[in-house]
């Protein structure tokens, strides 16, 4: 079997849609069968997965933590669209300083980045798969 490189584009919100969970399951299945995940790009409502303050009930899956775990295990890049994130209140220390905000909430392991990272990913990966709402 030929190894393929994937970029995942996650545009649906956690809990309100299945997008981050479906993408997580896809990523696990792809990695388990020897494929590569070049980058995971969180875009549109998908950026809210990167909110480090979300606390789902203990008996429910914590999607943010699950993604952090998978990313740490496989050195995955979790890229978050900065424009979509800022608009929805997902912010890192640097942007908080820039906008004069006292708090920031970007979850560990996620990086705010530009749309260029999605375009670069699409140009170089064998396939880009979108998970939307």
């Amino acid at each position: 079997m030929k190894t393929k490189t994937f970029v995942l584009n996650v545009t649906g919100a956690p809990y309100a849609s299945l997008a981050p969970l479906s993408a997580l399951r896809f990523a696990k299945a792809a990695l388990a069968t020897g494929h590569k995940i070049q980058r995971v790009f969180f875009y549109q409502e998908g950026v809210t997965l990167a909110n480090g303050l979300s606390c789902p009930p203990q008996d429910e899956i914590n999607l943010t933590k699950e993604w952090q775990k998978l990313a740490a295990e496989h050195q995955l890049e979790l890229a978050v669209c900065v424009a979509a994130a800022l608009k929805r209140g997902i912010i890192d220390a640097k942007e908080a300083a820039r906008y004069g905000l006292e708090q920031h909430n970007l979850a560990e392991g996620f990086v705010l980045t530009g749309l260029g990272q999605l375009v670069d990913g699409m140009a170089n990966a064998d396939r880009t798969v979108t998970f939307n709402s």
Partner: protein
């Protein structure tokens, strides 16, 4: 028609204007894609054809319209815009009514465009 060209990315617009910011995001992505020297085509499907309706007044709703961005597409070498022939009929429009020059496509032509593009993103 030029539908035999294969694109690096086709951006598909399906939502009418004055709704969410999806169309603006699709245009943002189109412009970025083009600056990376990737061949970019735009498809307007269903109610998405209304994005190209002239005489929109988004400011009445305190919304930021996309007309300026649409008009900037040419500066980014994005000149291939395709519209859904049936949608134009549904909304009593012709390509002559639209804000920008477009090619009207039947379902087979649209299917071919989508099938031959390296990537497709829908907004």
């Amino acid at each position: 028609m030029k539908a035999s060209n294969s694109f690096d990315l086709l951006v598909v617009f399906t939502q009418p204007p004055l709704t969410a910011s999806l169309a603006k995001e699709g245009l943002d992505l189109s412009l970025v894609n083009s600056t990376f020297e990737q061949q970019t085509g735009l498809i307007f499907l269903g109610a998405g054809v209304l994005q190209l309706h002239p005489n929109q007044q988004p400011d009445i709703l305190a919304l930021k319209g996309t007309q300026a961005m649409l008009q900037a597409l040419g500066l980014y070498d994005i000149n291939q815009l395709f519209v859904d022939e049936q949608a134009l009929l549904d909304y009593s429009l012709t390509t002559a009514d639209l804000l920008l020059p477009t090619e009207s496509c039947n379902p087979l032509q649209l299917q071919k465009l989508l099938a031959t593009s390296r990537n497709v993103l829908t907004f």
